[in-house]
């Protein structure tokens, strides 16, 4: 099997591009001439997205003292890049439909993704990082390549999953043998096709090999550790059943003491239920 990841992405049809609404928001955020009001107006054109974003900014995620009831207020308080990242995290889910249920339960998949996003965000907050949503979105997208594998290479994916069930090996390693590359490589190729920032691409590409991330080592280390914590808490599932290998250098890079872990898991636990409820709510149709 020597299929190239880029061919895989190109042949992916509807998946090879992101929803137009996200592209327009992204353009508005990146355009130095657009005002906060412009960005708010673009978001407001999509009522579903608007409702979802307002639910998120009014949740325990932020715990603002008063209710935020319009997108223009959300833009001012949360920030444009942050809102763009949240829009990305939630609009990606719409792209993947029709994946065989025996390969992956989509709700479980997004639960694992949201869990990892929240954990990355909590870890980043302990590090006093500035833009937390950046870490939420990388955590949320880290396993996205797996969906592409399930959709376009169902036979090989099934073989990989079944082999793991028998042999108790780690799925990403088996993918490399059964398919020729792993979900991390596919995921980063997909993000590249979507023209998303290089930081996202690198974090997704190396979340199982953080020592290879040269440009965004901290971001990658955060998601690497967040993934392991999400597995520890058994929040959802993206196909992998076992706790992946921890890279000790990545742990050092995150720079938090092991004694912070109980509190971290507690915080994730508190946000997880709320977050999955509000993000998955209108995605079921």
């Amino acid at each position: 099997m020597s299929l190239e990841t880029h061919d895989l992405v190109k042949s992916a049809g509807s998946i090879s591009s992101l929803p137009t609404i996200f592209i327009r928001i992204n353009d508005a955020v990146n355009n130095p001439r657009s005002s906060l009001a412009d960005i708010g107006r673009v978001i407001s054109e999509d009522p579903g997205l608007t409702a979802r974003l307002l639910r998120i900014v009014n949740s325990a995620f932020y715990s603002f003292p008063s209710k935020i009831d319009t997108i223009s207020r959300a833009v001012t308080i949360v920030g444009t890049q942050q809102l763009r990242d949240l829009a990305l995290a939630t609009s990606v889910m719409k792209v993947f439909k029709g994946i065989p249920e025996d390969l992956i339960n989509m709700e479980a998949f997004w639960c694992h993704s949201i869990g990892c996003g929240i954990t990355a965000r909590v870890l980043a907050s302990h590090r006093r990082e500035a833009n937390l949503e950046r870490h939420f979105v990388t955590g949320m997208l880290h396993d996205i390549g797996r969906l592409l594998l399930f959709m376009n290479l169902p036979k090989q994916s099934r073989a990989a999953l079944m082999r793991c069930q028998r042999s108790e090996e780690l799925l990403y390693k088996v993918e490399r043998e059964e398919i020729g590359f792993d979900h991390a490589t596919v995921g980063s190729a997909l993000l590249q096709a979507w023209n998303l920032p290089a930081s996202l691409e690198e974090v997704v590409a190396f979340h199982h090999a953080p020592q290879k991330a040269l440009r965004y080592p901290i971001e990658t280390a955060i998601v690497h550790v967040a993934d392991i914590i999400t597995h520890t808490m058994e929040l959802g599932s993206s196909g992998e059943r076992l706790v992946p290998h921890l890279n000790s250098e990545a742990w050092e890079k995150v720079g938090l003491p092991a004694s912070l872990l109980p509190a971290t898991l507690g915080q994730v636990e508190k946000q997880f239920h709320d977050a999955t409820q509000m993000i998955l709510q209108d995605n079921k149709s």
Partner: protein
């Protein structure tokens, strides 16, 4: 001298090293004798461990819900299987394995399911 967890810190203990918050700010200096007010400050800043004079290193928190030994042992077996590929000597993995065991034990005692 040794690092102890915040939970084990008591008034009257002496700090062996500065307590530095993750942003670099010094909260308390070495040599400080801990009072209730200091505990309050450390709690508010989310400090989880400090260096103290004469403390026993590696005290684990004892405030976890007790589970019956059978459930706990079964839960540990399940957790060990989940962590079969992880480096169980690493302090972070050791801590996660412990937390994972307690989570499983809690779920099992809640659902009253004791079948292995």
């Amino acid at each position: 001298m040794g690092k102890i967890l915040f939970e084990a810190l008591k008034p009257g203990m002496n700090l062996a090293g500065d307590v530095i918050e993750r942003s670099g700010r010094v909260l308390l200096r070495a040599g400080t004798e801990i009072t209730d007010k200091h505990l309050d400050i450390l709690r508010k800043w989310g400090v989880t461990e400090v260096d103290t004079v004469g403390a026993m290193p590696e005290v684990s928190p004892t405030d976890l819900e007790p589970a019956d030994p059978v459930t706990l042992r079964e839960s540990e077996d399940i957790a060990q299987k989940l962590f079969r590929h992880a480096d169980r000597e690493h302090p972070a993995i050791r801590e996660l394995l412990r937390l994972c065991t307690f989570r499983i034990a809690r779920q099992r005692s809640r659902s009253g399911n004791h079948v292995a």
